[in-house]
Amino acid sequence: MTPLLELRQVGKVFGGVIALRDVSLTVAAGEVACVLGDNGAGKSTLIKILSGVHRQDTGEYLVDGSPVRLAGPRDALDRGVATVYQDLAMIPLMSVWRNFFLGSEPTRGLGPLRRFDVARARRVAREELRAMGIDLRDVDQPVGTLSGGERQCVAIARAVHFGARVLILDEPTSALGVRQAAMVLRHVVRARDRGLGVVFVTHNPHHAHPVGDRFLLLNRGASLGEYPRTAITREELTSLMAGGAELEQLAHDLANPSET
């Protein structure tokens, strides 16, 4: 099966800094690809290339098996590649359904009577959220009253509704508590089960391991390898990340203070 999205030996240089070097990644429909790395590993650059904000300097970006050069985020969106950023682009004081359709409001009527189809917007927002397993009691409540996890879930549901085939999630669990993070992970799986490809970018192996089908590890802009789920344990994942070796050294040093 042709992957929905594929990067081949992609590199990106900013001025004199190599931000990304020879990184490859494939995402198939119904699959979660996790991108793991510490701060400065190149995760943000990778997201920006995938979402069309930056163009790669070397290598190829393929959507549905054919190479593309994205003109910008709108172009990516039109090809079904949607990015949910950490800061979410939602308006806290506006209701859930108003946020859900912001910028793409359904209308009815013609000419000066053309109006926001409020009944439909409410209904569709509720249905789409329920289809994602998010049962908000009241889509009229302001987004500001939702928890961080619920907000992420609404953003994911919005991206799915507006035709996303590949979801790129930028650190969706990083600011959340344990339970909230679990809720978001559940919806990542749900999106996968609906046949979407998901790129889940995180620095937390404990969040990535339960949901990922494959893992791309980044360190200082280069790939440390791409592993299928069966080939790697959570412990290996943790220790492979940049912090792993340092943490072991720290634990060792603390356990044997005389040696240092």
């Binding site: 308006i91 910028g103 926001f116 908000l136 009229d140 928890s147």
Partner: protein, 344 residues
């Protein structure tokens, strides 16, 4: 926890919260209290004639307050709107009396000028990203100088008058500054304009795409842009809407008084903002209602005339109003906190 079950603490939120987050709630409560108070103090106040009397200042103020409320929900201020009503009146009367234009043609010219001022205000704000408070303060001062300077240069005095003799005056007057009779009491037509403007603004705000965009650009312009909302166009359109309201009110007042002072409208800009804030608009934008602003203007009208009917010294008016403003702002802040408490 099963999938789809939310935090069990959410269950506490219900009908009271939904009612409380209506932005106009505080204004409605305030209006009822003010009415009850003055009605108990003065029989004239609660009579039909008295009602016609205090609805009149509420109407012209209300038209402006509703437009300013839309602008404030969109996250901006317009301090020049008050003086612009004066500019409109001066242009209208000058063209109709000194240059022999018909009243209708003079009104059209004044409308074009008002739209230009609104457009320039909006353009300056979105292009420079300066606070609209400063930009429109500049416009306020410039218009104030122009109003006085041009009027003096043309007439040698600080007022223009004699509109009664102009062509089309009677028709324009009955449409904008006339009266209608209900149960033997004459009411100003401006009251109907006020109700119409409020209804239209509410419809736009709650039931059109533009309304969604207004809330969004005021709530978080950056996020709105990211979602594909034409934020700059929305803001410029809001400034132009305010200018159209200033044109309407300036024309109503000019036709009613048939003469306009060169300093007309100065100081009114804050009254509009006060009415909008009493009506539930947040100073930070993104929240408020047109109906609330209209009720804020109603409170204003009731207090303005009620103090006189109750036989008090009218000098106390602004003191009373300042107190109302502080109370309303505090109430709004509490409501907003309650509404957008983030549960983690």
């Amino acid at each position: 926890m099963t999938a789809g079950t939310l935090d069990e603490r959410v269950a506490a939120a219900g009908a009271p919260r939904r009612l409380l987050i209506r932005p106009e709630l505080g204004a409605v409560a305030g209006a009822v209290a003010v009415f009850a108070f003055f009605a108990s103090q003065s029989a004239t106040f609660r009579s039909a004639a008295g009602m016609a009397n205090w609805l009149d200042p509420a109407a012209t103020l209300g038209i402006m307050a509703v437009a300013i409320a839309l602008l404030m929900i969109g996250g901006e201020f317009d301090l020049s709107a008050g003086v612009l009503t004066g500019t409109v009146g001066l242009v209208l009367v000058t063209l109709a009396t000194r240059y022999g234009w018909s009243v209708w043609a003079a009104m059209l010219a004044a409308l074009a000028l008002a739209l230009l001022v609104g457009f320039l205000n909006g353009l300056a704000v979105v292009r420079t990203r300066l606070p609209s408070f400063i930009v429109t303060l500049g416009t306020l001062l410039m218009l104030q100088g122009l109003n006085l300077g041009v009027t003096k240069a043309l007439t040698g005095t600080v007022q223009v008058g004699g509109l009664r003799g102009a062509e089309g005056f009677e028709a324009a007057r009955s449409a904008l500054a006339g009266t209608f009779t209900v149960g033997g009491t004459e009411f100003r037509v401006a009251i109907l304009w006020w109700i119409g403007v409020t209804a239209l603004a509410t419809w736009v705000l709650m039931r059109t795409r533009a309304g969604n965009w207004i809330f969004a650009v005021g709530g978080d312009a950056q996020a709105a842009r990211a979602a594909g909302v034409p934020a700059d166009r929305t803001k410029i359109a809001l400034f132009m809407t305010t200018a159209v309201a200033a044109w309407l009110v300036g024309s109503i007042l000019a036709l009613r008084l048939t003469s306009v002072q060169a300093n007309a409208g100065i100081g009114q800009e804050f009254v509009y903002i006060v009415a909008a804030v009493i009506g539930g608009c947040l100073l930070t934008g993104g929240y408020g209602s047109a109906v609330g602003a209209a009720i804020g203007a109603l409170i204003f009208g009731m207090v303005d005339k009620g103090i006189v009917f109750a036989g008090w010294d009218a000098d106390w008016f602004t003191f009373f109003l300042g107190g109302m403003l502080l109370l309303a702002t505090l109430a709004n802040r509490l409501v907003r906190r309650y509404a957008e408490e983030v549960r983690r």
